[in-house]
C-alpha cells in the first residue's frame, strides 16, 4: 500500500539557518511528489512538485526538493529560513497515472518553528 512518512512532527530552526524537512514514501513505481505549506489559519498552498525529469526541483519562496529514487525520499530544503516560513509542511504522493479518481496520499505534516 502507498504511504508517506514525515518522520519529524516538528522542527525548530533559527532564522537564517538552513532547513531540511524529510519525506519518505512507499510506492511500487515512481510517483508524483508534492510539498504543500499551510500557514496558520490558512489553506494549503503548493510549494513544488515532481513529475519526471530533473530530480532537483525548484519551488516558490526559495524552496527546493530533491527526489532520490534509491532512498524513496523527497526532502524539502531551504538555504536560509525566514520567520515567515513558520508553518506546517505536508508531503504528498500521487499515483501514476492520475485518473479522475486518483487521490493524493498525505504525510502527517511537519511543523516548522523559527527561533529569532
Amino acid at each position: 500500500a502507498q504511504s508517506v512518512t514525515q518522520p519529524d512532527i516538528h522542527i525548530t530552526v533559527s532564522e537564517g539557518a538552513s532547513l531540511e524537512l524529510r519525506c519518505n514514501y512507499s510506492y511500487g513505481a515512481t510517483p508524483y511528489l508534492f510539498w504543500y505549506v499551510q500557514s496558520p489559519g490558512q489553506g494549503l498552498q503548493l510549494l513544488l512538485k515532481y513529475f519526471s525529469g530533473d530530480t532537483l526541483v525548484q519551488g516558490i519562496k526559495g524552496f527546493e526538493a530533491e527526489f532520490k529514487r534509491s532512498q524513496s525520499s523527497f526532502n524539502l530544503r531551504k538555504p536560509s529560513v525566514h520567520w515567515s516560513d513558520a508553518a506546517e509542511y505536508f508531503c504528498a504522493v500521487g499515483a501514476v497515472p492520475m485518473d479522475s479518481n486518483y487521490q493524493l496520499i498525505w504525510g502527517a505534516g511537519t511543523k516548522l518553528i523559527i527561533k529569532p
Binding site: 508534492f34 489559519g41 494549503l44 512538485k49 505536508f90 500521487g94 511543523k111
Partner: protein
C-alpha cells in the same frame, strides 16, 4: 479574486444540528474535493467530484452528503452533528492537463472550522 472560497469560515453549533458548508471555485477546474483536517493536522479525503459526478467517496458516515450543482460548486451538508465532527473542512479543486489526466495540484480554500458543542 479568491480562487477557492468557502463559507462560513467559522461555524459553532450544538450536537444534533444540521449544517452546510459551501464551496465555490472560479478557476475553471473539473475536479473538486472535500478534506477533513483533525486537531493533529492529519488530512483525510472525504469526497471528490469530477464535473458534478461523484468520483471518490471515502468511508464517511452517511450523515455527510456532498452536492455539486455545477462543476464550480461543491457543498457539504452534515446531518445530526456529533462532537467528533469538530474539525477544519477544506475544499479544494484541481485542473486537468491534456497529457496527464489530472495534474495532481490541488488549490485549497482557507478552510471552515467547525466546532460542535
Amino acid at each position: 479574486d479568491t480562487a477557492v472560497s468557502q463559507t462560513p469560515k467559522y461555524l459553532v453549533t450544538q450536537m444534533g444540528n444540521d449544517k452546510s458548508i459551501k464551496c465555490e471555485q472560479n478557476l475553471g477546474h473539473d475536479t473538486m474535493y472535500w478534506y477533513k483536517q483533525d486537531s493533529k493536522k492529519f488530512l483525510k479525503i472525504m469526497f471528490s467530484y469530477n464535473n458534478k459526478e461523484l468520483i471518490i467517496n471515502e468511508t464517511v458516515p452517511n450523515r455527510f452528503s456532498p452536492k455539486s450543482p455545477d462543476k464550480a460548486h461543491l457543498n457539504l451538508h452534515i446531518n445530526s452533528l456529533e462532537l467528533g465532527d469538530s474539525a477544519v473542512y477544506f475544499c479544494a479543486s484541481s485542473p486537468r492537463d491534456r497529457e496527464i489526466s489530472n495534474t495532481g495540484e490541488l488549490f485549497f480554500g482557507e478552510g471552515s472550522r467547525l466546532t460542535v458543542l
